[in-house]
């Protein structure tokens, strides 16, 4: 790929593509300069760690630590009192792991559990992208934490930042062979697209500094300015869309032959969630299914899709830098042509496939290979011991102490205890019962997700993880009144429009607008293939149930057999259908009178 790197204009591109990119290169965003000057992500981080009076790092280094898998945050609950008490903000780091496919051994689990109790806030937070993150790790504990993570043969490289992030793979516990193929591809992509800079080992593990070297040897795929923006890859196995493939930059859909063996992959490109309130040229977008590729071409396709984005992506405006905007600007055809040119072959059209849902199936299942799998619901992914509630941290630690299979984190913030031999099942069931791990959760709750938001996330405009459980209490009461308590409806909340919990493809999407205020999105598809539409703007939290109540009443009475809530609202014309990103902001609001 070296012959294509950062070469402008791309040889196959039209003059328009080259001119546009060239113009943007003359007005690079601040982050591009930070990356360029960082010496392959080193910056002044090593020095910042030696400044004991401050728990923070500089703004520029704050951008660089993302590439190392962490964000500088502060406890926003404590902000008002700190100045008065002559204390700096309560800075601490969020540390996100890189766990391809979300697969962990029991041994690794035990190390991660110990880190959570020693250096973080006593919890492991399962994310929406099959990994764990820690909150509340103070600067003086960063190196210890990273060394402990390294001791578990894990790392945090590229868990955040303008690089290929953690690669997801279907958690599917049924089709063992297809899961294995999906996991293998996810792992291979994760390894292949991993930044090669020695900065991480050098800074966190006191590794030896390797000086010098050209792009070709230090970062053969990325170069010194990495990507214009984050890049997210997933691998799905139909009929489950548990990885939410349409919400990611690049996806592979397993196409199986008659005997259930892998025939190849449909390739999806250009999905993404983030947008900015009030800026119509930013929007979530569902991925296009671009082509079909043979199993042996998949890794190359992954690399090339990423490097075309590296070269064509917008480096002037970070708000328009994701692959979804690149595809909107240059068109899917031009993008595909460049990918095929760089791979050196033309691809077939996509094969038929069908997704049924984007959630997890809970409880015990048995795979094709006779192994047993237990999917546990973890509310908002927060693995900790709740006073008077489930003892998730302790319970899962106890399971890890006896479990010889593996754990899989799902893209829905849940945990799967995988590959349990039949004779071990009773022992694990006893631990599940002892620690209340499957304490009753209603249907809506089991189909819910929330991002972290307050108090740690610096981007949050409103509560999310701390508020959604309460809202669901009220909504479940409302659903019960309408006789809908057992109906599966997806609901997701985020504290800001960046969309970590993928709210725009939930049937009920709530996005923080300001303290206690949310934008309500409705009409998305249950299988995650269609975006919702802004239904009500800036709704007070106390009014959310009131707004939804008449729609749920209508759904109960007017739906056709098996019709999903999101589909119903679109069919009956309460909300306009969002066909894709560019019309996400059109025809918003309630389009039909409510009785």
């Amino acid at each position: 790929m070296n012959d294509h790197r950062q070469v402008l204009p791309p040889p196959s591109a039209t003059d328009g593509v080259g001119d546009l990119i060239q113009a943007e290169r003359d007005q690079l965003s601040r982050n591009e300069h930070i990356k360029e000057a960082s010496g392959y992500l080193r910056g002044k981080l090593a020095e910042a760690l030696l400044m004991p009076a401050s728990g923070a790092v500089s703004d520029d280094d704050g951008q660089l630590v993302k590439f190392h898998g962490m964000y500088l945050q502060d406890d926003r609950d404590l902000r008002p009192e700190r100045m008065r008490k002559k204390l700096d903000r309560a800075y601490a780091f969020m540390i996100r792991l890189r766990i391809p496919g979300g697969v962990l051994t029991s041994k690794q689990w035990l190390v991660l559990d110990e880190i959570a109790r020693s250096y973080a806030n006593g919890s492991l937070r399962a994310t929406t992208r099959q990994t764990f993150q820690y909150h509340g790790v103070i600067k003086s504990n960063l190196k210890r934490t990273m060394k402990a993570i390294d001791g578990a043969l894990l790392d945090t490289i590229a868990a955040c930042g303008d690089v290929n992030r953690n690669v997801l793979s279907a958690s599917n516990p049924y089709q063992s062979k297809a899961h294995a193929a999906a996991y293998d591809l996810a792992k291979a992509i994760s390894d292949h697209l991993l930044p090669r800079t020695g900065a991480w080992r050098e800074i966190w593990l006191d590794g030896e500094k390797v000086v010098g070297g050209e792009d070709e040897t230090v970062e053969p795929i990325y170069g010194k300015t990495y990507l214009p923006r984050k890049f997210k890859v997933v691998v799905a196995v139909p009929p489950s869309n548990d990885v939410d493939i349409f919400a990611h930059d690049l996806g592979f859909i397993a196409i199986l032959d008659e005997v259930g063996a892998l025939a190849g992959w449909n390739v999806t490109v250009g999905g993404g969630m983030g947008m900015t309130h009030g800026e119509a040229d930013t929007f979530p977008r569902t991925a296009d299914v671009m082509c079909f590729c043979e199993p042996e071409d998949a890794l190359k396709v992954a690399e090339v899709v990423m490097t075309v984005q590296r070269d064509w992506g917008n480096r002037k405006s970070r708000k328009n830098a994701r692959l979804k905007y690149t595809i909107e600007r240059f068109g899917l055809d031009a993008f595909r042509a460049e990918v095929e040119r760089r791979v050196g072959k033309a691809f077939a059209e996509p094969k038929p496939f069908r997704f049924e849902n984007n959630g997890d199936r809970y409880g015990w299942t048995e795979g094709e290979d006779g192994r047993h799998h237990l999917t546990l619901f973890i509310q908002n992914g927060r693995v900790r011991d709740f006073k008077g509630g489930p003892q998730l941290l302790t319970g899962l630690r106890r399971i890890a102490e006896v479990h010889q299979g593996e754990f899989r984190l799902t893209a829905n913030q849940n945990v799967l205890v995988a590959n349990v031999p039949a004779e071990k099942r009773a022992e694990i069931e006893a631990l599940v019962a002892e620690h209340g791990l499957t304490a009753h959760a209603g249907t809506l709750r089991r189909n819910s997700m929330a991002c972290v938001a307050l108090p740690t996330c610096g981007l949050a405009l409103a509560e999310s993880e701390r508020y959604l459980p309460t809202l669901i209490d009220e909504l479940e009461a409302c659903l019960a009144r309408h006789g809908l308590a057992e109906d599966e409806i997806t609901i997701r909340m985020t504290g800001c429009p960046n969309g970590c919990a993928r709210p725009y493809i939930a049937e009920i999407g709530l996005v923080g607008k300001g303290p206690k205020r949310y934008n309500l999105y409705l009409g998305a598809a249950f299988d995650g293939s269609r975006l919702g539409k802004l239904y009500a703007e800036d709704v007070a939290d106390s009014a959310i149930v009131e707004v939804l109540d008449p729609l749920l009443a209508a759904y109960k009475v007017q739906r056709s057999y098996g019709e999903r809530f999101g589909d119903f609202l679109v069919r009956t014309g309460y909300v306009a259908m969002t066909t894709n990103g560019p019309n996400f902001h059109e025809q918003t609001g309630c389009l039909r009178g409510l009785s």
Partner: protein, 309 residues
């Protein structure tokens, strides 16, 4: 020589103070008492007789717990304003809190945490709240009229010489005198370097005066800082560990004439003292007994002292 020291606000006062300290270091007890009494009479230095200082009445203008609301400790920062100017005091002084709003309270001795040269009409003191402080805690509030006596602790003399390097070792409220000294040295433009070792329980919740130390490091009035927080990691880490970690530079500073001072509760002070001895013993390749001798020498030269807040 001494007569040249005396004029109030004289331009050479700073150097004079330095010279005075040298005089005091070698003076006999009687000579010292005489000198200090004489100086007090003619300058703005505080009265020296431990119980004879005047009682002043001031108003509490700042009363805030410096520990975060998530801390299990309470350390009150008490700022008292005196409309007609604060009584004279020097870094290292203590404040006896005698009465609140016209009522007597069981006398409480608080370490002074400010320099008059910076806060002018105020005195700041730290009150680590312990069991037994109920009577004070119940009554003291913003706006309280307090009766206080500010006096020197005869056993605790902070180095006044501005050209001298100082190593300050403070745990929890023991950091008070070093805030005073840092303010003083900033106000007078001290030429010597300063190095603060601060210890507490948790970085996020117990870092007393964190913002001020950051500012002091930025403006150069504090040259270096090391911190130790005992509850931030599985094993206990205290200032003694930092002293040992930094032993090479620490001994280097001492050999260059630095003064040392420890202010901490008895247990912590003992640990810090032991850490210092270990550091000296390690660098000088001597036994702990010999290191004790070195530190005793420093003490006899007036370059090492220790107090409990």
């Amino acid at each position: 020589m001494s007569t040249r020291l005396l004029p109030r606000h004289a331009p050479f006062e700073n150097d004079a103070l330095a010279a005075l300290d040298q005089v005091l270091a070698v003076a006999s007890r009687v000579q010292r008492t005489w000198l200090l009494d004489y100086l007090t009479a003619v300058s703005d230095l505080p009265a020296q007789g431990t119980r004879d200082a005047d009682v002043s009445v001031g108003e509490v203008v700042e009363y805030v717990n410096l520990n975060s609301s998530r801390s299990d400790q309470t350390t009150m920062h008490v700022a008292v304003a005196f409309p007609d100017g604060a009584p004279p005091y020097r870094p290292g002084s203590v404040l006896d809190l005698i009465g609140i709003d016209g009522e007597s309270v069981p006398a409480r001795v608080l370490p002074v945490a400010s320099s008059r040269r910076e806060v002018v009409d105020e005195v700041h003191a730290l009150m680590p709240v312990r069991t037994g402080d109920a009577a004070i805690v119940e009554r003291l509030r913003l706006g309280s009229q307090v009766r206080v006596r500010i006096r020197e602790d005869a056993e605790f003399r902070l180095p006044a010489a501005l050209g001298t390097d100082v190593i300050m070792i403070g745990v929890e409220a023991g950091v008070a005198p070093y805030r005073a000294l840092t303010q003083e040295r900033r106000a007078l433009g001290a030429g010597g370097r300063s190095w603060l070792f601060f210890g507490g329980r948790r970085f996020t919740h117990d870092f007393l005066y964190q913002l001020e130390w950051q500012a002091a490091l930025a403006d150069g009035s504090l040259t270096r800082m090391d911190v130790a927080f005992s509850h931030d990691q599985p094993e206990r880490i205290g200032v003694e560990d930092r002293l040992f970690e930094r032993r090479e530079e620490l001994v280097d500073w001492i050999e260059n004439g630095a003064s040392l001072s420890i202010c901490a509760a008895p247990k912590s002070a003992d640990r810090a003292h032991f850490g210092l001895l270990k550091a000296v013993a390690d660098i000088k390749a001597c036994s702990l007994e010999v290191a004790v001798g070195h530190v005793a020498d420093l003490a006899s030269q007036g370059r090492f002292n220790q107090r409990h807040p």
